[in-house]
Symmetry: C2
């Protein structure tokens, strides 16, 4: 057993570790402990039709998933679900594009400007440019945006990549041409205190246009994924008040632990920096807590290309420049497997030493 562990570490300590993507493998152990309660079984004769609910405007939304989404949001207190519309997508990527498409198609003039305050989620750039749509146009950083006409501001909170709590920044007075898409993908209590509720899709016409987009884009969303997600969300809700099985408690402890370790390494070094987050009262946990984001926005005090420096040490991260920031910052996933995370910490600690020798 010890020998195997050692071998694994030796092999891992030599390989490239990929922290570029937010691949959420960190929670695997939790799901193992939960065991069969999240297991789904799908027979060959199940889910035959394209249609999930012909009476719902979002005809490809499985009713059990709609119910599970509402119940979990109600239990966690992070979203208002009454009199709102639920549109399901193949991840937040397709949903975000559906929302940009919907708001643009309802705008008086096109192309509609799309902006986000830097540092922003780098994939927004690709999502809004890859099809070269005439309906909307990526205009980059919302700070300093001054173009006339209709615009959409993407507000990500907690922000990806830097974990800060965000509000709109364009805020033109008396301007009804500005629309906002809130991306709250990481607004869950293991990452950040839940201080207020946000909302699902408010406007029926917007929801309808989003459904139209997804209908043409991929004729709906995988039913197998929806059925599985519904079951998992149901278990999350059932256990969210439990002392031993609460996923958010588990996730909170894990993330807090990782952040403390990372802050320890950064503190020991003279070359790295991390954002500081204010504490806030979390309505879900019922106490004042810090933020432990899914990504670390790692900076360096030196004039260096940090993404390349890390790559030389076989750590893949996302370049700050892709997020509208600079070479001195990178986004690092905090959601890897535990052993990968520990190798990252080791390499980071060693980089400090090498840096010192370089100087």
């Amino acid at each position: 057993m010890v020998k195997l562990e050692n071998m694994k570490n030796i092999s891992l300590s030599d390989s490239v570790i990929n922290l570029d993507h937010g691949d959420p493998t960190a929670y695997e152990e939790y799901w193992r402990k939960i065991g069969d309660r999240c297991t789904v079984t799908i027979r060959g004769c199940d889910l035959m039709s394209y249609f999930s609910d012909v009476n719902n405007m979002c005809w490809f939304l499985e009713p059990t998933l709609a119910e599970a989404i509402k119940e979990l949001h109600d239990a966690v207190g992070n979203a208002a679900t009454e009199d709102r519309y639920i549109v399901v997508g193949t991840g937040s990527t397709q949903l975000c594009q559906a929302a940009v498409h919907a708001l643009s198609s309802l705008a008086g003039t096109q192309p509609v400007s799309v902006v986000a305050a830097a540092p922003y989620y780098s994939t927004y750039v690709e999502e809004t440019t890859y099809v070269r749509s005439g309906m909307y146009k990526w205009e980059g950083d919302a700070w300093g945006f001054d173009k006339k006409g209709p615009y959409i501001e993407l507000v990500t909170s907690p922000n990806n990549p830097d974990g800060t709590i965000r509000e709109t920044v364009v805020n033109r007075p008396d301007d009804d041409e500005g629309k906002v898409i809130h991306d709250f993908a990481y607004y869950w209590p293991h990452y950040t205190p839940i201080t207020r509720r946000w909302a699902l899709v408010k406007d029926k016409e917007v929801a309808k246009k989003m459904v139209e987009y997804i209908t043409v884009n991929s004729i709906g969303v995988s039913k197998e994924s929806q059925i599985r997600t519904a079951k998992i969300l149901k278990v999350l809700k059932e256990t969210c008040k439990s002392e031993t099985e609460n996923f958010f408690e588990y996730g909170h402890e894990m993330m807090k632990n990782r952040w403390e370790k990372l802050r320890g390494v950064v503190k020991e070094s003279d070359v790295f920096s991390l954002p500081k987050y204010p504490e806030a009262y979390c309505n879900f946990f019922g106490k004042t807590l810090g933020s432990y984001p899914a990504f670390a926005w790692l900076g360096t005090k030196e004039e260096t290309d940090l993404v390349n420096e890390l790559r030389r040490r076989k750590v893949m991260s996302r370049a700050g420049e892709r997020c509208g920031s600079d070479k001195k910052h990178v986004r690092v996933s905090m959601l890897s497997h535990e052993d990968v995370f520990n190798v990252f910490l080791e390499r980071l600690a060693n980089m400090k030493l090498i840096k010192s020798i370089d100087l």
Copy 2:
């Protein structure tokens, strides 16, 4: 039992039946008979990562699915898989858009014209126009297309909506600006004789661009769907030489039976028409067979708006005009549940009578 059947028929006989979409519920009985062999069980801790195969260019393709696709094509003989690239999509809808995107992005000048010979799959129109891309432009019917510059011809065979076997129709001599996307979604032996093999993605650069499209469009494809599909394709392959469990034999008999009934009703009427299909030697079944397409391309000899006539009789179908054809044609799904199909036949037979009275 009889009473229940009657009640069901009474209720169904009064309701709107939707044959607009190709919703393939017809095969439910087959899958029930196959029983547990196609059942998949997915645990909470399974399929944690975004990545399916980091060594594959199509990193979101589950290896078991890639293998099952190749094995089934080899067994059926409808596609060449050696030295080809497999790109998985959320249905043929996303894949078709990925292919149009890929070929356009590799073209010398843009927008690239996109055409298909009428009558064509109506959704091609929406797929190539809804995002108002500057990379390609829908130019409609390939018959009569004479615009200069790069173009993509969509060739659907057997064709949706009319079931005919298709080749390219633009065919410019010495023109390297023309590209072809073959849509063989219905090229399976229960619909049409398998006379030759077509190919998966031939060009590596095209496959790469398709993967890039799907990566930005939806960060890959549902793993749950892929795992389930792999299992189902494996069973299709294992049973495809069986005398009692062969899906294609079952599907062929069912489709043949439905087409014979439909042709019977049409023959009795003086107002409707259907295409005739030549027989051909099917390499899979090893004998000469007819075509029994997934859609009926129903025509009327009268000057009438057929989609509205059918709607008045509570039969939803797809208007011929949406397929680049005329008001005298509609596309009707042949893949509904058996009882729905029988109600359709009844209403069609009655329409003939009403028509006669009208005259």
